[in-house]
Each structure stands twice: as structure tokens, then as C-alpha cells.
Symmetry: C2
Subunit: 396 residues, 2 copies
């Protein structure tokens, strides 16, 4: 009896490779001990949330005695939380934002689903530059859209502007950009972002329908060596920023994210009404109430310490990979390396790493075959003891 839909049965079957890998990792840990395995497969920040979060829990212990304190609020979040977020984003994005241009949602994933639910017509295309975060495919297809990938520049994982221009059709509704990039660690320059915005505007004019530039940027704070992530909202009326507090404040599990639209968009009231309606009907209903209090408490607290920790780890891992002879680009942002797989077959090479008790993710899972992803959101000790494994896997 078909207890799930035909499409869902396919998706379940497709997902089982990743599950098998995850299970294989667990088996290795059981067999050889937790401390023998070097797991670079997960992008889960391993630092504690800022101390303001802990303090806010004490405030909530008192507040939660009040009637209705943890009840519903407006579907887009508390007005005071939106005000605070809008002020913070205005500075970061170099435009004047009010709560009328900002919505809180269930993480960045909720914000992206709400956005695609709001703007996509059946069959609309969403462009993504490969390698990319695979969940984008689901976020588009959940709402009748189709994800279409465009290759990145060969030399530096940056956007290939000509390839984006060539990919635009009358059905193109949005380009989703992820800079700093998971999995490549690339950060797009201001000039590249400007040219992307112009390319989309030109395409939109040609086909008589706006093409949104969606910037998904949860790693904005995580850049090294003085690199900067340029603001996106000034670039176009159709620029949209999506992010969360998962990586900078370690709140991934509490599901607080947001979307901000350009104040230059004339019809932004309509777009925001659609986003808020989608927040409600897609079942988020409202951003988690506790998460909003925690976000507001943490907002603006320094991420310098986290940055220093990740920079140290990046440099440690870079040294190990270099010593072993891997070919890679030093990440400018995020906590990921995306080295070339020796031999070219990323799935085979990830298996070889696994034999050395080193866990990585094949680039194929990100639309980037021939590479593998390493997350350095792991304790320093894990990086230190991975030296031998990386070297042996390289020797084959």
C-alpha cells in the first residue's frame, strides 16, 4: 500500500546515501572509539551561545509566570524584535530599514520557504551557482519551482556572470546566492555582486518580470584576513537578504531567522504581506517566541572570539592539508574547506578517508563533483589528530 506519495518515495530513496554515511560514522565510533574518529562532516557550530543568552533565560524564568507570556504574537514576529533587528540590519546593509521591511521566521530555511511560496509561479526557475547548499532544491520544488544550477568560475569559486546571464529565461524568478559560500568557503566581491544585480535587472526588464537576487548569508560574520562581505540590499529593488542566528550566536536549534527586503522596492508592502501570510500558512505560524527573546538579547554581541577560534582551526587544517599535498583554495569565509579529491572521484576518495577514520562529505552532494567538503566546526584536538589520516589517504 502506498503510504507516501510517489515523489516522496523517490526523495526518501535519494536521501538514503547520506543516511548510510551518517550510520557508517556511528559504526566507526562504536568500533574504534569516539576519540579515534575525526568527523569533519557536520556544519553544526560547536561554540557556546554568548553569555547574554544565558542571562536572558533567567529573565524568561520570571516572565513566563505571566499569562500569555509564551503565546502567539504577530505572524512576522514581535514588533519590538523587528525594530531591533531592522536597526541592526540597517547598519550592516547600509540602507534604512524599518520593521515594515523585515520579517522573522523559522530559521533561514523558513524564510526561504516563505519567500519561494510567495513569489513562484508553477514551473518558475530559481538559479543557484554550483557548488551550492542542496536544500535549495527542495525549497524551490516545495512551491512549484525548479532549481537550475549555473557553474561557478573555474579559478576561484566566484560567480560566472556570463553563465548566469546565459541561464536566464522568461521563467527565471530568482537567483539564490550564498556568500560566504557553503561548501566552497568563497566570498563574492562587491564588484561581482554588483554585476550579478545588473545582470538580473537586465534579464527582468527583458522578460517583463522582476528577477530577485536572494542573498542567503548565515556566514556573513565568519570571514578571515580582513575580507568583507558587501551589503546586498543597496544593489537592486529586487535584492532580498535571508539569514539566521544559527552560526554567529549558536542558536541553530532554536530556529530564528529572518528575511529583509529592499526599501527601494515600491511594492514592498505586497511582498511583505505575502511573506507574512506564508509564514502563517506554511505552519511556522510565528518565529519561536523564546528564540526572539534570545536573539534580541544576543544581537550585537561580539563574534570576535568565535572568529579567532575558527581562524586558528582554519590555519591548522590548511597546514595539515598542504603538508599532505592536497590541492585547495584557502577559505575566505565559513568553516569549510572544499579541496580537490585526489584521483578525481570524490565519492571514492571519501571512502578512502573513511578507512583512515576521517569523515568528509563528497562534493557531488553539493553539485561540486571532484571535491570534498571538510567542516572545521570541530575541536582543535580533532584537527590535530587528523594529520596522519589525511596523509595516508593521499598516499592511497
Amino acid at each position: 500500500m502506498n503510504v507516501v506519495s510517489a515523489q516522496m518515495a523517490k526523495s526518501i530513496a535519494g536521501g538514503s546515501m547520506i543516511r548510510r554515511m551518517f550510520e557508517a560514522g556511528n559504526e566507526l565510533r562504536k568500533k574504534f572509539g569516539e576519540d579515534a574518529v575525526c568527523d569533519f562532516s557536520l556544519g553544526n557550530p560547536d561554540l557556546a551561545p554568548p553569555v547574554e543568552v544565558s542571562e536572558e533565560f533567567r529573565v524568561l524564568a520570571v516572565k513566563s509566570r505571566e499569562p500569555g507570556s509564551l503565546g502567539y504574537m504577530s505572524n512576522g514576529g514581535f514588533a519590538w524584535a523587528l525594530d531591533k533587528l531592522a536597526a541592526w540590519l540597517s547598519e550592516q546593509q547600509m540602507v534604512n530599514l524599518t520593521r515594515r521591511e523585515v520579517m522573522l521566521s523559522c530559521g533561514a530555511a523558513g524564510a526561504l520557504n516563505s519567500f519561494f511560496h510567495t513569489v513562484l509561479e508553477p514551473g518558475d526557475e530559481v538559479l543557484a551557482i554550483a557548488p551550492y547548499f542542496v536544500e535549495y532544491g527542495f525549497y524551490a520544488s516545495n512551491h512549484g519551482g525548479v532549481l537550475k544550477t549555473v557553474p561557478c568560475r573555474k579559478d576561484d569559486f566566484g560567480p560566472d556572470i556570463e553563465a548566469v546571464a546565459a541561464a536566464i529565461t522568461p521563467k527565471t524568478r530568482a537567483l539564490i546566492v550564498n556568500s560566504p559560500n557553503n561548501p566552497s568557503g568563497a566570498v563574492y566581491s562587491a564588484e561581482d555582486m554588483q554585476r550579478l544585480a545588473e545582470t538580473l535587472e537586465a534579464g527582468g526588464r527583458r522578460h517583463g518580470r522582476p528577477i530577485y537576487l536572494v542573498s542567503d548569508e548565515p556566514y556573513r560574520f565568519l570571514v578571515y584576513d580582513g575580507c568583507e562581505v558587501p551589503p546586498v540590499l543597496p544593489l537592486s529593488p529586487y535584492a532580498v537578504v535571508v539569514s539566521s542566528f544559527s552560526k554567529n550566536y549558536g542558536l541553530a536549534g532554536e530556529r530564528v531567522g529572518y528575511i529583509a527586503v529592499s526599501p527601494r522596492l515600491e511594492e514592498r508592502e505586497t511582498l511583505m504581506a505575502g511573506l507574512v501570510l506564508s509564514n502563517r500558512t506554511l505552519g511556522y505560524v510565528n518565529p519561536p517566541v523564546v528564540g526572539q527573546y534570545l536573539m534580541a538579547a544576543a544581537l550585537g554581541s561580539s563574534t570576535d572570539e568565535a572568529l579567532a577560534v575558527y581562524k586558528k582551526r582554519r590555519d591548522m587544517l590548511a597546514e595539515i592539508l598542504t603538508e599532505a599535498g592536497y590541492e585547495f583554495q584557502l577559505p575566505k569565509g565559513t568553516f569549510y574547506f572544499f579541496p580537490k579529491a585526489p584521483g578525481g572521484d570524490d565519492q571514492a576518495f571519501v571512502e578512502r578517508l573513511k578507512e583512515q577514520l576521517v569523515l568528509a562529505v563528497p562534493g557531488t552532494g553539493f553539485g561540486g563533483p571532484g571535491h570534498f567538503r571538510l567542516s572545521f566546526a570541530v575541536p582543535d584536538a580533532v584537527i590535530a589528530r587528523s594529520r596522519e589520516g589525511f596523509a595516508r589517504a593521499m598516499r592511497g
Copy 2:
């Protein structure tokens, strides 16, 4: 320029009546003062969460100092939270549930969206018994389905079994039942539920595809006069229970809900895999981490006090409505009355109530024209001072 999709533009326009009502209420409050308006329009529980929730916040103040304490976990929730929930549900539903039959989500709304996303083929029909919670229409159409309403029994808002049987087609995939019912306050009997389950099983056999019996029951604990809500999971392998901790523990804003499937369903591993995948890709990713801690702390704490408060309010409001000459059925559960609109036109009568500074929702909004909904999730004082308004609106 079309900044939202055609369908979304329609939905935004359709929603504006409710928004206008909400804004009208705010205007009345501004004009006549907060204390002059009797607002019976919102189903937002107004009691404080149990004291265990407050205590858990103090625990979290310490726990949140640990690395990764508020990070991601499995898409279906923490194993320990699922174990605790499964044990609690086993007792309530009179079947033996483990964590393999239970998933936590972003409220009951998230669980319902995940369910429909998992099981609906394009064009599939979901039956609902009118009057019903209007969001069901979105939850079905979000995932390619169509909501089809079936009228209730004329005398008592119970399910009309023959009407359900007649509505079944080869495209019928589920019946969604809400007992205790929002907006009618009806509670379906064990016999009615049994007959519904049999009717769906017969229909499923006839068309060679299971028809799920989905029981959405956030008001299960809120029943009066010794009335009981029968367990649903023993009734059929295709029975599914969805609920949340919004009403019983006042956690509506924190978005913790769940879905439990029947242990009699042979292919439940496939169904659960689809649900967990949907939780991930629809953007909930995982149930909010703090909400899971709060839920586990509150689980099993008594709701007797809340019940006593709501029962008193129900009886107060019943007396006022009776005295003024309204025709209504005393709610057996929930915190809603659904009286007949004098004159038959519910929208016109709700306007008349508004002139008396009494806010209600027209039954038309629930597929129940000719009635209006009153929520008694309001302080006793609001009920007490509504007496004159109800009487005057009745006199016309």
C-alpha cells in the same frame, strides 16, 4: 510589476477581511479605551504556562553555557524528548508507542504540513467536516491537495457519517477531524469515531489506496462535565494523531507540536521517514530546541486548574447568552461558543455586536455561515461586562 505570484495575490486579497476586522478592533480600543471593548475574537490561551516551565528556564540558563547546547539535533527532535512524549501518548491513546512512531515538529501546524507534504499526490482530496479550522485549506493546497468540506450533523455538530461516505472518491487521501472542535465546541463520541474509521477503511479498500484518519486534537484536555475524548490510534492502521502544547501548557508561541502514527501500520517506517524528511525540507529543520526542553518539563503537569478556570467562564457566558435569548449548543470542549446569528446573516450580526463593542468572528470564516464564534479565553471581567452588549445586539 508582479512582485508576488498570481495565487498569492489572491490569497492576500482574500485575507484582508479578517485584517480589516482586526484593525477595526484596534480602532475601537483606541477610541473607547481597552476596558470598554469585549474581545471574544482570539483563540489565544490567556493562562500562564505551568511552573515547571519557569523552572526549566533556570536550568537552561546553565545548560546554554555549554558548546552546541542550542544547536541542531535530529530533524524529528531529541531522542529523549520523543521517548518521553511516546510514553505519555501511549497512555493517552491506549496503544504501545515508541519514538519510532512519534515526531516533534513546529507546532501542530508544522506537523500537519509535514504530513500532507508526505502523503498527497497532486490533486488529492482532503475531507474536513464543516465548520472547521480554515487553515486546513492552506495546509492541503500548500502540497498540491484540495480541501473538500462535508457538512456536519444538523442537530449537534457531530460527524455526518453518511455524508463522509458519499464524499469519498478515488482521489480521497485523508479526513481531518478536529474534536474537541474549533469553532463548534463539539466532542465526537467513541462510536462516531469508530464509524468514521470504518467508513474510511472501506473507502480505501474500494479504491485500493489508504485513506488516513487525521485527528487534530490540541483541545483534548479541555472538556467539561465528565466528557471524554476517545483515543484515535487504536481505530485503524491509518489513524494519525496531531497536536501541540499550545493550549494545555500555554506554549503556543514556542511552536512545539507532534504527530504520532498507528503502531498497527505495517509501513510506518516509510511514513515516518517521509515525515522527518518533510520536517527538514519544509524549513522547520527541527522542532525548536528550547521548546522541547519546556515541553518535556511541563509534560504530565496537571491541567485541572486551567480546566476549572475555563469551565467557570463557559458557564458565565452561557448564562449571559441564555438570558439575552441566543440559540446555542453548550460546548462540551474547547473555549468556544458557536451560537446561531439572530437574523441568519452572521457577517451582519457580527457588525451589530461590534457596535456594542463586542468582537466575534463570523461563522462564514469557518465554513459555518449563520453562526458566530466567541472565544472565552478571556478574563472573567470581560465576560461579566459583555452582558449589556449581547442583550442590546439581540434587540437589534
